[in-house]
Amino acid sequence: MNKTATSVAGSDDLTVAGGNSGHGYRHKSRIRTNFGIYGGVFPFFIYALLFFGLPTFRVVYLAFQNQDGGWTLSNVRESVKGIYLLSFERSLELSAVSSITGAILGFTAAYAIAISSRPALRRVVQTASGVFANTGGVPLAFMFIATIGTYGLVTKALKVFGIDLYAGGWTLFTFTGLVLVYLFFQIPLMIIVILPAIDGLRLEWREAAASLGGSKWQFWRYVAGPLLLPPFTGAVLLLFANSFAAYATASALTSGTIPLVPLQIGSLVSGNVIADRANLGYALGFGMIVIIGIVMGSYAYLEKRSAKWLRR
């Protein structure tokens, strides 16, 4: 192994440092440095390739394969028809509603704590956001069942005031119920993401606008608005991808009553497969990768743009 490293780096040296003849020590140290660079990160890339790259590649590959191992587009075509098209629509709708609602509420909360002159409030909200944004899955579902499920505390309390949540056929296990639960991790995520941008609005700009005779509306319309729009849009995209990918919460809460793409994939994995559609799950997975890829790509672009003025 040492030998190969020497010969590879040695040939490299001939072109780069041909003039420095006779400095054997120098050669050796450069060889070791080169080996150090790639040797140091080699395990990481092998690991990521094996446990992430390979499975991902396999999903994309199988999305375009038929049962007999030939190339086909029929899986992808099938994945945007009927119940699967409906699932994509529902998933997109759920992500859009929960991300925009979460973004607006989260922005309001973040703005309130940004302008409040109470550092304690700020610290509590910031810490709680970090904690709640990572809350999800089965425990979150059960917590909400205990809150506004049929026997939940809030349901019972509202009944005392004569409001019966479940009178009109609404349940927690519907679209709006899911949005309500998703907001529990969407709002905190929004607060975390947008707070630095709001903090970046400098007091001097407000003063400058005011001294030039600008009104509050004009400040928001011409200064704060345009500055906050890219980070706000970026945050909406991040929230969108976050809820689009979520499986656990929806699965635990609805047990499949609402058609969502992750749930469809889940039921295909669990073996509810119709024989000639074995590769359909991969096509759905490919669809999810494409959508989240576009959304996160746009997020990264907007993030980069707002990073320019955020750096103080």
Binding site: I115, A128, G137, G213
Partner: protein
């Protein structure tokens, strides 16, 4: 004085009032903050109330006594603990040297490593599990430890960020050069120099990883292993109040871990200015 500017004198005070220099929380914002706070507190309170409520609407803590005697409690906890430990060990073993090398010697590779680390945010677990089931040999799929190897990937966006900012706060190059110059072998550099200097970053990524393993439902349930979260779901089908009690425990534990994480982060931030002197 304000009239010296073109604005008509009558309007000047009005515009002065509407453009507040130091904005304060008005009644609108205050109400919004209250509603949001209510929304986050209510489920926590309700879950506790639900877990201690009996069928006859009386209250008792009995359900918490039944947790340890619930079916499969021991097996599930043992498997989850092994998964957590394995995930943490692999994460440290892979990520600490990688991020250190990237900071020390291969700054050009930093962007690439960061990109790869963030990719798990683009491929959702439910899609990744499809690929894992389709590409891993049967013998590997027979072991639940495969989950740990995948959890390392799921945690990578967070562990990379934690370690990256931790290493960014200290002057690793100088420290390592000094240690190497005095003849310390790489093993010692990692354990005695880099390790202690990014202690809070390492602790932070351990907390995050453990929280992730304790809460991960998607891959575990689709690969048919009974870990803590999938077990709660199973219990929920027969005994709602026990499942809610377990959920409280699960969330409570994760919240403690994440609180510890933010404490560790704050400590690191406080350390930043003195980083060069160390």
């Amino acid at each position: 004085m304000a009239t010296a500017i073109t604005a008509p004198p009558k309007k000047a005070p009005k515009s002065g009032r509407s453009m507040v220099l130091v904005p304060k929380i008005g009644p609108g914002l205050g109400f919004g903050l209250f509603v949001v706070g209510f929304y986050f507190l209510m489920p926590v309170i309700s879950a506790f109330e639900f877990s201690i409520r009996d069928i006859n609407d009386t209250y008792s803590l009995g359900v918490y006594g039944r947790i340890t005697s619930a079916p499969d409690f021991g097996t599930v906890m043992w498997l989850t603990a092994r998964l957590a430990i394995t995930t943490v060990l692999i994460t440290i073993l892979i990520m600490v040297p990688t991020v250190t090398f990237v900071h020390l010697k291969a700054k050009k590779l930093r962007r690439l490593v960061e990109f790869v680390s963030l990719l798990p945010l683009v491929i959702p677990p439910v899609v990744l599990v499809l690929g894992v089931l389709a590409s891993m040999p049967t013998s590997v799929k027979g072991s639940p430890m495969l989950l740990a190897f995948e959890y390392v990937m799921l945690a990578m966006p967070y562990t990379f960020r934690a370690l990256d900012s931790g290493l960014g706060a200290v002057d690793v190059g100088t420290l390592v050069d000094a240690a190497r110059g005095l003849g310390a072998p790489w093993r010692m550099v990692f354990f005695r120099i880099i390790g202690p200097n990014i202690q809070s970053a390492i602790l932070g990524s351990i907390f995050l990883t453990v929280a992730l393993v304790l809460g991960e439902y998607t891959m575990a349930s689709l690969m048919l292993w009974e870990t803590f979260p999938t077990w709660i779901a199973t219990i929920g089908q027969s005994e709602a109040s026990l499942a809610v009690a377990l959920s409280i425990f699960s969330l409570g534990f994760a919240w403690i871990l994440l609180l510890a994480l933010s404490a560790a982060e704050r400590r690191q931030k406080g350390k930043k200015p003195s980083g060069g002197e160390a």
